[in-house]
């Protein structure tokens, strides 16, 4: 079995990991490492009672990754509490998004998940005040040139990322879950109104279950880089399963209604197809039927699904690298196309290609000599 298929199967049916041979495990681990899912696999194997039966070097890699994720979560929870008790307490509570929300709410996809940034949602009228307050706690901006400032502040749904001067943690302040210029952008007030309290000691809130999943979907679909695509899809898979089992039809009802109200039913339709197809998520027929009217026409549907499946392949584990590269190119263009109207898009890509300075936080490749 190829590594990408084995990885998806491990996520969908953890007991399948018992069947992997040593030779299959090596590329499977590489694919999981690329998708930031090593720690997740450890917890899935452990829950399925397989941890003791794994080949020893495999167990070491998975366990070590889970350890690193655990430390990262601990640090993230501390950072969240610190933000909660700091100057932001002068404002009405913000809404924690993505990794921070999964962690604070103790959702099942948080275990082993390598959380990166902190994402907080505030009303548009208040987001710059939050930025000013955070400055006094050591958070400062990263993008200093005029074009980037304008790009974020006028067109995007978040401010330029903040980085903590001492700890290097990244914090994104959002006022919506999609860019201002996104085709048919959702009403953020709706998200905040239905947000829910977190258990003590947090003042921050989180999105309601339907919005939480829809945000994960939006995140995957509006991406221009698909490097962590499989992890995003896994978040969607776990959250659908968890809320579906907990709240039953009520969850699905609300999920479909909110997808429509937020103008993102088309994304929800594709996400349900993809998570069912690739991760075998159990989805009842009713929401699929109701979202069917948001389906693309037959020609585009096939092409979109093809790009989606290939875009989610890893570089380490794929057996179709050339087709994947074409798909990633299509998804990159589509991501940008959705983000901005055509004129703006042309301007943006032109600027990035010819005028932009190299970003300060470039993930430039190091010199090999540093390792000798």
């Amino acid at each position: 079995m190829d590594a990408d298929t084995a990885l998806r199967l491990a996520l969908a049916r953890p007991e399948s990991m018992a069947e992997r041979t040593a030779a299959e495990w090596a590329p499977l681990l590489a694919a999981a490492r690329e998708s930031a899912l090593l720690g997740t696999l450890w917890h899935l194997a452990d829950d399925a009672g397989l941890a003791d039966g794994l080949p020893e070097p495999v167990a070491r890699h998975l366990w070590g990754a889970a350890l690193i994720a655990e430390h990262r979560s601990q640090a993230l929870a501390w950072e969240l509490r610190r933000l909660d008790n700091g100057l932001l307490s002068r404002m009405s509570p913000g809404v924690a998004l993505k990794g921070a929300a999964y962690l604070a709410a103790g959702l099942p996809n948080a275990r082993g998940r390598l959380a990166n940034d902190i994402d907080l949602l505030f009303p548009r009228s208040e987001v710059e005040r939050a930025e000013k307050l955070l400055f006094f706690e050591g958070w400062s901006g990263t993008h200093h040139n005029v074009y980037d400032q304008r790009y974020y502040r006028e067109w995007m749904h978040e401010l330029p990322p903040l980085v903590h001067q001492n700890r290097g943690t990244t914090l994104d302040l959002h006022h919506n879950i999609l860019p201002e210029t996104f085709r048919g952008h959702p009403d953020p007030a709706r998200l905040r109104q239905q947000s829910q309290a977190l258990p003590e000691p947090f003042r921050f809130r989180i999105l309601c279950p339907a919005h939480l999943v829809l945000h994960a979907i939006v995140h995957l679909f509006s991406e221009t880089e698909w490097d962590r695509g499989l992890r995003d899809l896994y978040d969607i898979h776990v959250l659908l399963g968890y809320f579906g089992a907990r709240d039953g039809d009520a969850f699905w009802e609300h999920f479909v209604a909110e997808a429509e109200a937020l103008n993102i039913a088309w994304m929800a339709e594709r996400a349900l197809w993809a998570t069912n197809r690739l991760l075998l998520t159990d989805i009842p027929p009713e929401p699929v039927k109701r979202l069917a009217r948001a389906r693309a026409g037959i020609a585009l549907r096939g092409l979109g699904r093809w790009a989606f499946v290939h875009g989610l392949h890893t570089r380490a584990g794929s057996v179709t690298p050339r087709r994947d590269a074409v798909a990633r190119g299509m998804l990159f263009l589509r991501g940008h196309w959705l983000k901005m109207p055509a004129g703006l898009l042309a301007r943006h890509l032109f600027h990035k290609a010819f005028l932009a300075e190299k970003p300060e936080t470039a993930t430039a490749q190091p010199q090999p000599e540093q390792h000798g």
């Binding site: 601990q74 929870a77 001492n166 700890r167």
Partner: protein, 88 residues
């Protein structure tokens, strides 16, 4: 001397190495090498318990004059590193 009460931050990891002491703060991800005085001060603050500054000065065996001069400085550097916090 002020009557402020102090307690150690929850969850700190600490090891004694010879005469010295190192502390790891799991939240901030920082590691600190404590001076003997700061280490003795941290020792006085048991997990979960708060102490006022006069009691801390007694614990360290400081005269009132020394306490006035030194204690505030030590407390302030531990506080900056988030190893202690003021008890509300």
């Amino acid at each position: 001397m002020s009557r402020r009460r102090w307690q150690r931050t929850d969850g700190l990891q600490q090891r004694t190495l010879g005469q010295e002491c190192v502390v790891f703060h799991p939240g901030a991800g920082t590691t600190h090498l404590l001076t003997p005085a700061a280490a003795a001060l941290m020792d006085g603050l048991a997990e979960g318990a708060a102490m006022d500054e006069a009691a801390l000065a007694r614990h360290l065996g400081l005269s009132e004059k020394d306490a006035e001069a030194e204690l505030g400085r030590w407390l302030s550097s531990l506080h900056t590193a988030d190893l202690i916090r003021e008890h509300p």
